[in-house]
Symmetry: C2
Subunit: 196 residues, 2 copies
DNA sequence: GTCTATATATTGATAGAC
DNA sequence: GTCTATCAATATATAGAC
C-alpha cells in the first residue's frame, strides 16, 4: 500500500466514523482498527486527532463540487430545479441510512463549533461553498426572481432549511419532516417566482 | 442542602455543560467539580451518565411552556407575532452567548440521535412539544391562512428554519444568517397570509 | 513510512464507611 | 444521602527499532 493510500484510508474511515458516531465519541483506536493502520502511521500523517478532523473537512470541501453539486446539476438544466435536485440528494442519503446519520457537516457544526476555532472556520467555509453553489443557480434564475431578493441570503435560507430538515428527520427517524419542509420551501419559491 | 437540591444542582450544571461542550466532551468529573457534588451523590440519583442526560431532557420538557413559550406569548396577542416572538427569544440567546452555544436540544439531537434510543425519543418528544406550541398559534390564526395549509407541517417548518438558522449563526459566529432566515420565513408567512 | 510497545491522563462507575 | 478512595477501561499520544 503506497504512502498516500494510508492517508486516504485514514481520512475515509475517520470521516465515516465521525459521521456515524460524532467526533468526541470516536476513539483513535477505533479508527486505527477499522482502517487497519497502526498508531505510528496515523501520527506520521496527522499530529493530533484535531488535525485528522481538519483533514476530513478539507476532503469534504474537495468533494463538494464533484460529488454533491455537479451530480445534482446534471439532472436538469433549470436552475431552480437544480437546487431541489441537490436537496433531493440529501433526501436520498437520509433514506439510505434509515434517517440515522444526517448531514456530516451539520452534525460536526453543532457538536464542536465552539471547541476548536480552526474547525469552526473550516465548517463555515464549507457552508459558504455550499451556498455559493446554490447561489450560482439563483443568479442564473435572477430574471425570474423579484428584484428585491438578495440571492446570497436566499441561498443561505435554502441551506438553513436543508440542515434544519435533516435534523428533524433524524430526530424523528422519518422522512416526513424533511418532505414537509421541502414542500414549504418549494411553495415559497413558487410564490417568489410567481410574484416577481 | 436538601436531598433534591443536590439533584437539581446536578441537572442544572450538567445541562449547562452539555450545552457548552456537548455530551461526550463533558466528563462526569467536570460536572462533579462544578456542581460541588461528590461522585457517590451523583450515582445515587443517576445510575449512569445517560440517565443524567435523560434527566436533563425531562427538565427541558418541564420548562418549555413556562420558560420558552409563555414568556414569548405574553409579548403580544397576535398569534403570528407570537411565533416570531418565540423565534426572537432564540435570537436573544444567540446574542447573549456571542452566537457560541445554539439550541441545546438541536445540539444534542445532532450529536447523539443515533447513539441511545431512549435519548432520541425524548429529543423527538421535545421537538414535538415545541411544534405543538407553535401550532396552537397557527390554529388560532387558521382563518387567515389558506385552507390547504397543513398547520402541523407548517409548525414543523418553523422549527426546521429556527434550528437551521441557529446552526448557521453558530458556524459563522454571526447573527446575520439567523436574521436572513427569519426575514425569509417572515416573507413566506406574509405571502401565505396575503393569499389566503 | 510502518511497526510494536508503552506512557500518562482521564473516563465512567463502584465500594463501603458514615 | 454523602463521603473518600479507588477500580478497570479507555483516551490520546509517544518512543524507538526497522
Amino acid at each position: 500500500m503506497s504512502e498516500s493510500d494510508t492517508r486516504e484510508k485514514l481520512l475515509t474511515v475517520a470521516a465515516r466514523l465521525f459521521h456515524e458516531q460524532g467526533y468526541a465519541a470516536t476513539g483513535i483506536s477505533t479508527i486505527l482498527r477499522e482502517a487497519k493502520v497502526n498508531s505510528g502511521s496515523l501520527y506520521y500523517f496527522f499530529p493530533t486527532k484535531e488535525a485528522l478532523l481538519l483533514g476530513v473537512l478539507d476532503q469534504y470541501l474537495d468533494r463538494l463540487e464533484p460529488e454533491v453539486l455537479r451530480p445534482a446539476f446534471e439532472k436538469t438544466n433549470d436552475p431552480i430545479e437544480r437546487i431541489f435536485a441537490v436537496l433531493g440528494g440529501y433526501r436520498q442519503m437520509l433514506q439510505m441510512t434509515g434517517c440515522a446519520m444526517g448531514c456530516p457537516i451539520g452534525n460536526l457544526a453543532l457538536e464542536l463549533s465552539d471547541s476548536y476555532p480552526g474547525v469552526r472556520e473550516k465548517l463555515a467555509g464549507l457552508f459558504r461553498a455550499w451556498c455559493d453553489g446554490i447561489q450560482r443557480c439563483l443568479d442564473e434564475a435572477a430574471d425570474r426572481l423579484p428584484d428585491h431578493v438578495d440571492r446570497g441570503m436566499l441561498a443561505q435560507f435554502v441551506l438553513t432549511v436543508m440542515e434544519g430538515a435533516m435534523m428533524q428527520a433524524r430526530a424523528h427517524r422519518s422522512l416526513d419532516p424533511y418532505d414537509a419542509s421541502m414542500a414549504h420551501l418549494k411553495s415559497y419559491f413558487d410564490r417568489l417566482l410567481a410574484g416577481a
